[in-house]
Amino acid sequence: MTVSGVFSAGFLLAGAFFFLAGTVGILRFPDIFTRLHAVTKADNLGLGLVTVSLMLEAPSYAAALDLAIVWLLVLLWSSVAAQLVARDALDRGEVPWRGA
């Protein structure tokens, strides 16, 4: 296995770990605001690590650029969506969790 292959595999496994963290978060966290963190932060970091892993092994620079664009678009959307959903929840009168 090449050096970039080892790094690629490492990033891929790290990405899978953060996806797992996101899923655990969405199941375990107590309210919509904390769940937003799991979905829009942990999962995006996971996707970022997966894209880095694939960029290391990408067949061409154009393909690597494609992967970067995909990740940036997902980041953009999820940050916008997190703001929208959180504001909507506040408007509906949901009270953020203050600790058990």
């Binding site: 690629s8 990405g15 199941l27 919509i32 979905v39 092994e57 494609d66 678009l73 909507d88 929840a89």
Partner: protein
């Protein structure tokens, strides 16, 4: 590398399945719709992994489209939710 990528892709699909539990539990519609964001991110990751594994750049384009329209469902939910709650159009 082939086995690792397909393995991680399968793992992400399993992740999505587990995420369905949150849809079942709710409790609010917002909690349920939030899981679509998880679906979108996971779908993009799975598509990218398959594209790299099979050397098919067309699958990468599908992932690009998913990324491009990823948040539209949440946007629609937030825009239309208040109207639905009021019972109007």
């Amino acid at each position: 590398m082939h086995q690792l990528r397909t393995g991680v892709a399968t793992f992400l699909l399993a992740n999505v399945l587990v995420g369905l539990v949150r849809i079942a539990r709710g409790p609010t519609p917002a909690d349920r719709i939030l899981v679509t964001q998880l679906f979108g991110t996971s779908a993009v990751a799975v598509l990218l992994l398959l594209a790299a594994d099979q050397g098919a750049s067309s699958i990468r384009d599908v992932a690009l489209i998913f990324a491009l329209f990823g948040g539209v469902s949440l946007l629609a939910f937030v825009r239309l939710g208040p109207r639905v709650r009021r019972g109007g159009r």
